[in-house]
């Protein structure tokens, strides 16, 4: 029964190790004891309707969170379009899921701009912006990354984390959906945090 092709055996071992590593990461992320200071933050920001929001945003319902900005030609629209397509596939079962687009560029992304941007994708995505120092608390608190990259014209671009953060109704990080993830895998990850019918 042993595979004769040595390449198949190597491939088997490699994929086995990969799965083990993945399981390790999953166990680490879903472990009951949150690590001190990690994946949480208190903050005071506003949503795209100008209403105040804070850390309670992540409690009570599972959520999918993205850190991006509207002056982003490629990665952000692609990701939000993918989120829209996840929501479509989840259908009614996905209705408890909240989706948030936090801007890493709150200086330029006003609530009005955020509203215009997110609603172009879906009425299910909520934009979040506010004071840059408050936004930084969320970015660091969730171990995301964002950095301003100045241009010679006086403008700037932002370097930022591309992963989608999947947060459980308990406010804990349950997993990450990387950029360009396979739709089926992404939807499976999301289903796992949804309340079981």
């Amino acid at each position: 029964m042993a595979p004769k092709n040595p390449f198949m055996m190597v491939a088997g071992v490699v994929s086995g190790l990969f799965v083990l590593a993945l399981v390790g990461v999953m166990v680490w992320m879903t472990s009951a004891t949150p690590r001190a200071g990690g994946f949480n933050a208190n903050f005071s920001l506003v949503n795209d309707r100008g209403e105040e929001v804070d850390q309670s945003l992540f409690k009570g319902s599972p959520s999918l969170v993205y850190f991006g900005y509207t002056h982003c030609p490629e990665v952000c629209p692609t990701t939000l379009l993918e989120v829209t397509s996840y929501l479509k596939e989840l259908g009614d079962a996905g209705s408890p899921l909240k989706t948030y687009f936090f801007t890493v560029d709150p200086e330029r992304d006003t609530p009005e701009i955020m509203r215009g941007y997110v609603t172009a994708f879906s009425d299910r995505i909520t934009g979040v912006t506010g004071a840059p120092e408050e936004m930084q608390k969320v970015i660091s608190g969730w171990r995301a990354f964002a950095r301003k990259q100045p241009n010679k014209s006086g403008g700037y671009s932002m370097s930022h984390t591309m992963d989608l953060f999947l947060i459980g109704a308990d406010g804990r990080l349950k997993g990450l959906i990387p950029y360009g993830a396979d739709q089926d895998e992404a939807v499976e990850k999301i289903r796992a945090v949804l309340p079981q019918a």
């Binding site: 509207t70 002056h71 982003c72 030609p73 490629e74 990665v75 629209p77 692609t78 990701t79 939000l80 379009l81 993918e82 397509s85 330029r108 701009i113 215009g116 941007y117 172009a120 994708f121 990354f145 990259q149 241009n151 010679k152 014209s153 403008g155 671009s157 932002m158 370097s159 930022h160 984390t161 591309m162 992963d163 990450l176 990387p178 950029y179």
Partner: protein, 158 residues
């Protein structure tokens, strides 16, 4: 009959090639500019990416600047994806075009950035842009606007 089939074939080919835009190209001096393309922008978006294939059949050259009536300024940026982070940086000296090489400006790499766009690009539009090469000089090109980034209906890029 054969003629008709050729016409139908050509029409099908055009439909399949890039939604509304067929592959197109420009030339200045020894530089070929293959299918400059962009993406439809969202209603409030202020920036758009531009992509194309630059083939230099002559001596070393450089894409130094660009202008367009549709953008406050046009810059060249490099996008890098590293460890789950998207890094953007401007290429202050433009895009180097070594002799005999083809450099592709594409998503996830070097690209044109249309900055301060007041009227977001719409699918099917052509964005008139002047590219300036250090040695080959200026050339008028048109960026054809395809679907929004990430649109699953987009199968082929030329």
């Amino acid at each position: 009959m054969i003629r008709k089939n050729i016409v139908i074939g050509a029409m099908l080919g055009a439909l399949l090639s890039f939604g509304t835009a067929q592959a197109h190209g420009f030339k200045v001096g020894e530089i070929e500019i293959g299918h400059p393309s962009s993406r439809a922008m969202l209603p409030v978006a202020k920036v758009g990416g531009g992509y194309m294939k630059l083939t230099n059949n002559g001596a070393d050259d450089r894409l130094v600047s660009a202008t367009s009536d549709r953008a406050g300024s046009v810059e060249f940026h490099e996008m890098k994806m590293d460890g789950g982070i998207m890094q953007m940086r401007e290429l202050p000296n433009g895009v180097t075009l070594p002799a005999g090489k083809t450099i592709e400006l594409k998503p996830g790499g070097y690209h044109v950035m249309f900055m301060n766009v007041t009227q977001p690009f719409k699918e099917g539009e052509m964005i008139k842009t002047t590219l300036v090469f250090e040695k080959a000089g200026p050339v008028e090109v048109e960026f054809s606007v395809g679907p929004v980034a990430g649109d699953k209906n987009e199968h082929a890029e030329h």
